[in-house]
């Protein structure tokens, strides 16, 4: 019985991330529009877009290989699994033993690998430009992310997210310089990974400036829907990750009753809203940087993460 309940909670978590991801994007877009004094599209517009894309015919380039057709599903599956592993409203779920930070980084890395390959597959120049820029960004974002993982692991003694979250929620954490650095680095990596301003502009129509969008220009119909949903999921994943590690309050514990589960869910929604508002405000206040400034930006994230890790070798209490 308990096992079934546990499995059900795990199932809820998987569906929750899938259903919430478009809403989060819709909320960010709406809030950004309001900041610009525009009405903005409805909150549920991303759902409508997905449904519309699912219904549309797929237009494939003549020279598209099997890889091009398979990639959207690969990206979606990898991102969905990764997003479902991050504790949202509760820790210690049935599959939490697999919820390892390194696994999540690896899942996202392989999704990106296939996306870059698919971008190159059709052989258009925009796909190539997008793939090369994406890989340039990834080559700095991934090491930074791994160093952040090391810092967290050194502090919490594990790379498993449930354990990290539980530890971060406990009073013995205290204020640590290394954690502060990791937080800033993680936010920078999250911005780059999610192709947000100032690294990339998700709303642009200018092919020449695109990074993420350039790789998926050739996609249409349900393929595009899969990739879009994966993009939404990725944003939700990073927001959940930042909340569960750095704002672990309200997380329901293993085997908790329904009341604390509901409480966890409500606080989780609150955290999502706060992060979305902060993201929208930040994106409104800043212009996109030159492509060649991105390495500087991510280099700073890498250095911060490295410093955080090094500080922990100097003293475990920093």
């Amino acid at each position: 019985m308990a096992l079934i309940f546990e499995l059900a909670i795990q199932g809820v978590q998987m569906l929750l991330v899938l259903l919430l991801a478009p809403l989060l994007i819709g909320f960010v877009r709406k809030f950004k529009a309001r900041l610009l004094r525009r009405q903005g599209p409805s909150l549920i517009q991303p759902y409508r877009d997905l449904i519309r894309l699912m219904r549309k015919e797929v237009v494939l380039a003549d020279n598209a290989s099997w890889l091009f057709r398979v990639t959207p599903y690969l990206i979606f599956a990898a991102t969905w699994v990764a997003a479902a592993l991050v504790p949202t409203f509760a820790t210690g779920l049935q599959f939490s033993w697999t919820a390892d930070l390194i696994v999540i980084v690896a899942l996202l890395g392989s999704a990106r690998f296939f996306q870059a390959l698919a971008g190159l597959d059709v052989g258009t120049s925009f796909g190539g430009i997008g793939a090369s820029r994406e890989v340039m960004i990834a080559s700095l974002a991934e090491p930074a992310m791994l160093l952040i993982v090391f810092s967290l692991a050194l502090v919490a003694g594990a790379t498993q997210l449930s354990t990290v979250a539980a530890f971060m929620g406990s009073p013995e954490v205290g204020l640590r310089v290394s954690l502060g650095m990791s937080l800033i680095a993680l936010v920078m990596v999250a911005i780059a990974e999610n192709a947000r301003i100032p690294v990339d502009n998700p709303a642009t129509h200018l092919e020449l400036t695109m990074v993420h969008e350039a790789m998926i220009l050739e996609y249409s119909g349900r393929h595009l829907a899969m990739i879009e949903l994966a993009t939404f999921l990725k944003l939700l994943l990073y927001v959940s990750l930042i909340s569960c590690v750095f704002l672990p309050w309200g997380l329901a514990n293993t085997g908790a009753g329904p009341r604390s589960l509901v409480l966890g869910a409500v606080t989780y929604l609150g955290k999502l809203a706060v992060c979305a508002i902060l993201l929208a405000v930040f994106e409104t206040a800043i212009a996109k940087m030159r492509v060649f400034r991105v390495p500087d930006f991510l280099g700073a994230a890498l250095m911060l993460a490295l410093l955080g890790t090094l500080l922990l070798f100097v003293s475990r209490s920093l």
């Binding site: 610009l36 004094r37 400036t209 212009a287 996109k288 940087m289 492509v291």
Partner: protein
């Protein structure tokens, strides 16, 4: 000796056979020798080319000399052959290619003989000269060879709702080594529609050459017709025209400032500038009955008088912009991330701006102090006080700042006009022509100086009309400005130039 080497334009025109009934500047039919003398002056950078256009068996060239004198020299070329200007003065290249497409002229020694406006889709070649069967030929882009170079073709259909044009980048990684433009996709055949059109229809055609500059085009056309026929328009009409022209400049500059920032993903400026632009358009609608004030300027005057409500609408518009615009300028200037994108991007050298006689913000951001409102000047600008801002940097930032300063100047001009608007009639009937008359006009649109030259036939219809958009001399400079920049900065540079496709493609 030195005197002979440096003639003034007036000497050349007097050496030729002056054409009667050409106003307000003079035109002369010259010999090939004089023609070449003028090309010498262009090639040595002393004079500026204002335009070059054809007629069957004749080629015309409008020139601006060192003392800012304007004139046209024409060369008879039986068989269409004439010595190419473009081989020694590159700004003439595309104009000569276009004249060759339309009239079948054969510039001798033209280094680039590919077609320009004619994409092989018309069914005929040289439709305005001796129409002939049109063999379709593939367009050869300039070759780009070298290790690790790759080409990026962009357009002609773009992702945004903008006009069509093809850009072929040759890049080494992210750095642009060469950009080659291909235009002509929106060729509408305006010059051939003009031929034989009555003046009122031709005025409407002129106003549709480039939609964002409709007032400036109508104004230039009206000036040219009035010059040709010797019609003097009422003072109030001239002032109302200037009012419309300044409102158009305000709307376009405000829109551009926001759009440039938007291309750097700074949507905040775009949103606020968009609101202000919309206010200008609504004021235009309230005052003159059309948001873009299209067909409001006609030869002989203007169609709509300014009412009390219109004056109030414009006054409150000016007050609102005066109150809100400084905050936007401050926002632009104080956003470091935005400055990082615009400063030093897409630098256009001062020498190139001078060689190409680039008009508008493109020229003035690169040190070329030319404004048709000030230069040849026309009523009522000779009575109004305004500055022509000039900067030397030539980057995207400078082009934004020129626009900002011009917005401020336009605000002050609108205030002056409202303050001193003379009374009286707003339109007169055109004087009839008793023989062929020729007129020319140079009018400052928001992009730069628009040149219109026309000949009215004995029956009072337009015999030939040439419209030269400022973009003719700005598009080639965009190719130069982007060189050495990164591919991802192209949209920003392009938007800061904001050349017209429609006005260029005719």
């Amino acid at each position: 000796m030195s005197k002979r080497k440096m003639p003034a334009l007036i000497d050349l025109i007097e050496a030729g056979r002056p054409v009667e009934h050409h106003a307000p500047w003079r035109r002369a039919v010259v010999t090939p020798k004089t023609w070449n003398l003028a090309v010498d002056q262009l090639a040595e950078g002393r004079w500026a080319l204002l335009g070059l256009w054809g007629e069957p068996e004749t080629v015309h060239m409008a020139l601006l000399d060192a003392v800012r004198d304007i004139g046209i020299i024409s060369l008879k070329c039986p068989g269409g052959r004439y010595p190419s200007v473009g081989q020694r003065h590159p700004p003439a290249l595309r104009l000569e290619r276009a004249a060759a497409d339309l009239f079948g002229l054969l510039p001798q020694g033209l280094p680039d003989t590919r077609r320009w406006l004619d994409h092989g889709q018309w069914g005929v070649s040289h439709p305005l000269g001796m129409p002939a069967e049109a063999p379709a030929a593939a367009y050869r882009f300039l070759p780009a060879e070298g290790e690790s170079l790759h080409q990026i073709p962009v357009g002609p259909v773009h992702a945004g709702i903008i006009e069509p044009g093809h850009f072929r980048f040759t890049a080494s990684g992210e750095t642009v080594v060469r950009l080659e433009e291909r235009l002509g996709y929106v060729h509408k055949g305006i010059e051939s529609l003009m031929a034989g059109a009555p003046i009122d229809r031709a005025a409407r055609l002129a106003g549709r050459t480039s939609g964002d500059s409709t007032v400036a085009y109508s104004l230039a056309f009206a000036h040219a017709v009035e010059a040709a026929l010797g019609t003097a328009i009422p003072r109030r009409a001239a002032w109302l025209r200037a009012l419309m022209a300044e409102l158009e400049r305000l709307a376009n500059h405000l829109g551009d400032i926001g759009a440039i920032c938007n291309d750097a993903a700074f949507a905040l400026m775009h949103a606020h500038c968009g609101v202000l632009r919309e206010r200008v358009l609504r004021a235009g609608d309230a005052a003159f009955g059309h948001r873009l004030m299209r067909d409001r300027v006609v030869p002989g005057g203007v169609t709509n008088d300014l009412s009390e409500e219109g004056t109030t609408a414009i006054r409150s518009l000016i007050a609102e912009i005066r109150q809100r615009f400084p905050h936007l300028v401050e926002l632009y200037d104080n956003t470091a991330s935005l400055q990082d994108r615009t400063v030093a991007t897409g630098r256009l050298k001062v020498e190139l701006a001078r060689q190409y006689a680039a008009g508008g913000y493109v020229g003035r951001a690169s040190g070329r102090n030319f404004d048709a409102r000030r230069g040849p000047s026309y009523a009522p600008y000779d009575e109004l006080a305004f500055d022509v801002p000039v900067l030397q940097e030539g980057d995207v930032n400078a082009r934004v700042w020129i626009r900002i300063r011009e917005v401020e100047q336009s605000l002050s001009l609108v205030e002056q006009i409202l303050e001193r608007l003379p009374g009286g009639p707003i339109r007169v009937d055109l004087t009839g022509a008793d023989g062929p008359r020729e007129g020319m006009a140079l009018v400052e649109g928001f992009r730069g100086d628009i040149l219109i030259w026309l000949r009215i036939g004995e029956d009072g219809t337009i015999e030939r009309c040439h419209l030269r958009d400022p973009s003719w001399f700005q598009w080639p400079l965009l190719e130069a400005a982007i060189e050495g920049n990164i591919v991802a900065d192209f949209p920003l540079c392009n938007k800061s130039f904001n050349c017209s496709y429609s006005g260029h493609d005719l």
